[in-house]
Symmetry: C2
Subunit: 319 residues, 2 copies
């Protein structure tokens, strides 16, 4: 157990992941209410919106209004997501309020790149290089290298650790060419193919090649294994996870209507807390926000914990 | 990884757990349809009903009709649940069709025994002794010792491995007095308090005392950690799990309305399959039965996998 981290960083993506997929419409005021409530739980990283085309993602047509509207809490990093220069410029308008960082985002599965972006892997590399250059030109550091479908893909099947390593190599080559200093890798189980041994093998392989990089895991609970996967990673010392309150998000990929979204923030916090690992998050407060999220979207969310309540709540009653 | 079992036995309890709690009404024909479909997936142990008072559990008022009605598949063990001599006698009427076994069922939490059975632990021991005697008198072997709330309790809080060991000692004392030869322990996380390290500590403690006994885990997914708990147990060589298709069941305990039921059979099978452990179960067939269960109960079940589909199904499409 000596590899256990002392602290796990829960990077909340509920607003961004959730409101991009919920049929809604969800009011701007409700989005703001959720973001502000999340900041009161002790979470230090909250991804608040996507700056994407409202034609493609109507749920984020009000991205500007949301960012303008919420009251920022000191000490909390608010981030956003974007995919191109237009999105970057929209984000830069909120430079004072948002933490703006660039990333090189690749996919370990060429079939998924084709399906999702209508590009070959080579075309995607070119696009990402252009994108990274634009960020650096705007004075935005590019420190993060993301690999989607890092554990398997609905369109390509299994993804080996060697494929992840090779994708990272491609990304680092771009980074070197544009002068970006990558400090962080993000490995995403975009379509829920991970199982604990696959997590262990891939992390071990990536770490042995690049021991100095920090790794974030972005897990989806598509097949119910997200918490088991997080647990396996935590035991290897992984201390950064994207997660969504209540399990907001859903999986937009073909053949998976109704499938679960990201790992639930509160279930990850519960796991850490019961293992004696700090998260800085008030679990009961986060559970309340999960219930608020359910009320806002108007249907039951995948989180089991928001329905059951924390162990500490029962411990207090039992005492 | 040398402790990994070669084969994991998935003991399906979906019909019994599910139909006792679903508001329904669910027709006898639908119950039979689910049981027969489960038997076609390769599952070898199916708990089909409860012989309990229809006043307490109206969902099982038709237990006899269900057992009479389903067509038994050779090689499959069909079991039932009961709590007293009256239930035993109802089960014995189906001696040819059901696998009838007795058990001594205790609870590691006295507060839960009080709440659930309105008995002290001592009174429960007396009742269990009487019950075991009745089984043996009827020619039914009592081989199983169950411990409920083995990992924590909503009414008492944390349960230590020492409390589980002491509960088992009490059960073995009764067994010795009535001449029962206990071969199996069943540890139940009745209210969803387990986390992987707690599973590991309790199993290690119980095993070090009674290395020759087989251990079954009965896990609830009350707080989303059931698969992570199963994974921790599998890594210790535990090879028997109760589970319910689709996650049928729900948690009937106070303050947990809407909380999840048992670990989903299909998510457990997926985990095993992807780890190279046999279960004898056709996962795609089981997922289909999960969808049938959802249709029968008329609402979404907790299983993520029945909504997402198996990895093999996507592998076949990708190939």
């Amino acid at each position: 157990m000596s590899d256990l981290p002392k602290h796990v960083h829960v990077q909340e993506e509920g607003p961004r992941e959730g409101f991009q997929i919920e049929p809604g419409p969800i009011s701007t005021a409700d989005k703001i209410r959720l973001i502000e409530a999340l900041a009161e739980t002790g979470l230090k990283h909250i991804q608040v919106c996507s700056f994407v085309s409202p034609k493609v993602v109507p749920g984020w047509a009000d991205a500007e209004a949301v960012v303008e509207g919420f009251k920022a809490k000191p000490g909390v990093h608010y981030t956003a997501l974007w995919f191109n220069e237009n999105g970057l410029n929209r984000a830069l308008a909120f430079r004072d309020k948002l933490t703006i960082g660039g990333s090189i985002s690749l996919t370990a599965s060429e079939a998924f790149t084709k399906k999702n972006l209508n590009r070959t892997h080579a075309e995607n590399l070119t696009a990402m290089k252009k994108n990274a250059t634009a960020h650096i030109a705007a004075g935005v550091a590019v420190k993060r290298l993301g690999v989607m479908a890092a554990f398997g893909c609905n369109y390509q099947g299994d993804i080996t650790p060697a494929q992840v390593v090779s994708t990272i190599e491609d990304g680092l080559k771009i980074a070197a060419e544009v002068g970006a200093d990558i400090t962080d890798f993000s490995l995403a189980d975009t379509m829920g193919w991970a199982i604990p041994p696959r997590i262990e093998r891939t992390i071990a392989e990536v770490r042995s090649r690049w021991p100095e990089k920090r790794i974030t895991l972005h897990l989806h609970d598509t097949r119910g294994l997200a918490v088991a996967n997080a647990h396996a990673a935590i035991k290897m010392g992984i201390d950064r996870f994207d997660a969504t309150v209540g399990g907001l998000g859903g999986c937009p990929f073909a053949g998976q209507k109704g499938a679960a979204g990201n790992i639930c923030s509160e279930e990850l916090v519960l796991l850490c807390q019961e293992m004696g690992i700090e998260t800085g998050v008030d679990l009961d407060a986060l559970i309340e926000v999960g219930r608020m999220a359910e009320e806002i979207v108007g249907h039951q969310l995948p989180s089991e914990l928001i329905h059951a309540g924390s162990l500490d709540a029962f411990r207090r009653k039992a005492a």
